[in-house]
Symmetry: C2
Subunit: 317 residues, 2 copies
């Protein structure tokens, strides 16, 4: 058993779907994520002491009811699995904006299981934590989708089709490519966005998108930038979701005009991501920000490479 | 200009779809293919002198009308593109059974363009021949599908989504895996088989199949046999086509019981392929043959590795 009193873990935000791989492809971000602190307590089960927001204050919206927070649900799944006496008390520090399309709920769930895992007498391997983090994510997305949890937990670019879970596939990530993420000040509910998607698709739509995805993952493995540029597309889901983010088309046009390889919604939006050659990233961020503001949306942006690390233990005191 | 009188090219049969990649994935076979001989003549355009069958006799079904044969249509596309005076006379030696699901029409088209290319004053590069071979294939399949033409031309395992053509992607093929192909004595028309497929699919169907394909191509790149075994599946098209090949389910069950990684229809059938570890290939062939015959279908089988070469010039006299 850990002798440490409190363990704090950081888990990064992530780009779900990555445009081309709806529900099955995700990329970890750098420099933005949630922190969860965990400490053992005598009382059985998992409780949340408090949830603090970006400003460090008690979070105005998020529940600290242990059955409604993705962090505690994920932590409880792991704690019950481990069968250890007593319980755990969590403190959640949200660093990822809510309903941003940046994998906020996944980051909390992942940070929680990584922190709690470090408290266990026999820690699980990283890949074994996935199913527990997914228990939390289910609450948020209304289904079994690992495209935020897997990159937040494992880092980098992860292919994670539902039919293969709990197996996931970490892709060799291409070098020299930056990810740019813009979060405009709009909130979108993932679960609602999912419910509004069409249920049926033509063979042509399915095959076109499938072709892009299959070629994209190979392009990443082969470090083939030209092929990444040709295949980073979403012709099925993006057209259904674009209208919910009034600045999306404008921001995308600006990114593409500035040389992005591709640009789409992050998760169900409103965040918008682009991949581009490292040398173009600075110009692309500026172009995207300017366009978002021209539409009247203040925004935050982040730039990273494609090798962002997954969750890690930051502090043990 | 070539000084040679007659050029003969061989183009291999191929496994279209490879189960998991409908319309966009194909694998070249070894030891079975078509031969096309080409020689320059004074008369403008492309003509067919004769079409000979597997027995060396004049083919009883195939037309030697130059507008109805995939070899001559493909050759004409290339010849017209090259803009050379005079014409070409072809002799087609069919080695691939017709309507077998083994890419018979593609093999003729590919052998024709490779032979004619060798007659040109300025030969095109291999990748530039694809579009001309596809002109022939269009006649047979009723659409623009490169999953037979591309592996027959380029060899090995090729990812070739329609939306990226004429670009194709040759995958790194895993080592130690054999392909087994069984051709039962049934004929199926590709064009008819295609017309009978459902036009609409649920999101769940699409995503399940897309997940298998994306993970399969990565598994090939990573030489991950366990992942190949988990993903070599067709949950969308195979169920619609299986009933047309009465021995299919039995042969597949026999292959899987004997240790195959996966087993499905080759193209639109009736041929049935399996991928397996090299050491299992001999047993799997026997199991598949026995089951086919138990259903009353005589059959031929071929075994190869996944690195079968593409078309090549065999003879120049």
């Amino acid at each position: 058993m850990s002798e440490q009193g409190t363990i704090t873990a950081f888990a990064p935000a992530s780009i779900g779907n990555l445009g081309v791989g709806f529900d099955m492809l995700g990329l970890a971000l750098s420099g933005v994520g949630d922190r969860v602190s965990a400490r053992r307590v005598e009382q059985t089960g998992v409780t949340i002491a408090e949830v603090r927001g970006l400003d460090g204050e008690i979070h105005p919206f998020l529940s600290n009811s242990a059955v409604e927070n993705t962090a505690s649900i994920a932590a409880k799944s792991l704690w019950d699995h481990a069968g250890v006496d007593g319980g755990v008390e969590l403190t959640v520090h949200k660093g990822v904006p809510l309903q941003s399309g940046m994998g906020s709920s996944a980051a909390s769930a992942v940070a929680a299981v990584v922190a709690v895992n470090a408290l266990l007498p026999q820690s699980l391997r990283r890949s074994e934590l996935l199913v527990h983090a997914l228990e939390g994510e289910k609450l948020a997305s209304g289904g079994l989708h690992a495209d935020n949890v897997a990159p937040s937990l494992l880092g980098g670019l992860v292919l994670c089709p539902a039919s293969l879970l709990p197996r996931t596939i970490s892709l060799d990530v291409p070098t020299g490519i930056s990810s740019v993420l813009l979060h405009p000040e709009i909130q979108i509910s993932t679960a609602e966005s999912r419910r509004s998607l069409a249920r049926g698709y033509s063979m042509d739509q399915w095959l076109e998108q499938q072709g892009y995805l299959a070629a994209f993952v190979v392009a990443c493995e082969k470090n083939d930038h030209a092929l990444i540029r040709s295949t980073l597309r979403d012709v099925v889901i993006e057209p259904q979701r674009a209208a919910a983010v009034p600045c999306f088309t404008g921001v995308k046009d600006a990114a593409m005009a500035a040389g992005a390889y591709g640009c789409s919604l992050s998760g169900s939006g409103p965040s918008i991501f682009a991949l581009c050659a490292d040398a173009e990233a600075a110009n692309i961020v500026i172009a995207m920000e300017q366009r978002s503001r021209a539409f009247g949306y203040q925004c935050q942006t982040w730039v990273g490479d494609m090798k962002a690390p997954g969750a890690f233990v930051e502090d043990a005191t």
